[in-house]
Amino acid sequence: MKIMKSVWISLAVLGLFSWALVEFYSASIDISKFLQDPEREYMFEVRLIPFVAFFLIGGWLAFISIRKKRKYQSWKKVFLLPDEFEESDEREKQLTAQACRSAYISMWYSFPVISALLLLYPFVAETLPSYPILVFALLPITQIITYTVSWKKNF
């Protein structure tokens, strides 16, 4: 099933993006400390691996996806629509519509849970400063999983 490949690509890109954002967040903390204390010798320190991984692996996955979609769709659809949308006929359009409905409903359940998880931040701020980024990434992950389960169930 083609959709599973697209889902894994989306989750991989999302994971790499979150990893890069976590690293960027620690750089932001450094920059903020530097602005408060100009005596510091350096502005920020950052590991480049997450960024390189995001741009290289993410770029490669995006290239594969764009090349595949370009054969069948207009440029507008290639760049604006997610890969998971399989709409080659009326039944697939209906499956996509049902899956989008499920993903929308899942947002109303995952949003309060994720908000509640953010309340734990003061307890983990010391050990895991990037906790809000990781928790926030759960929202799209939940929606992608719900979309996929609905699509596969109705297929």
Binding site: S88, D89, E90, R91, E92, F155
Partner: protein, 69 residues
Amino acid sequence: MEIKNRVKELRARDGLTQGALAERVHVTRQTIVALEKGSYVPSLLLAMNIARTFELPVEEIFSIEGEDS
């Protein structure tokens, strides 16, 4: 209320594969599979395309479960 159809029977009559019928009515093969299983109710456009392919009126192919066609 469910809709039953004679697509499988008519496809066999005309010696068409699921893929060939799908190509003629511009849908995927999986849609024909779902249609024959009764798990998908087609749009009016698809029903009319199928009827045209089999050269029969729509009501002779699709009918409401429990009603005589």
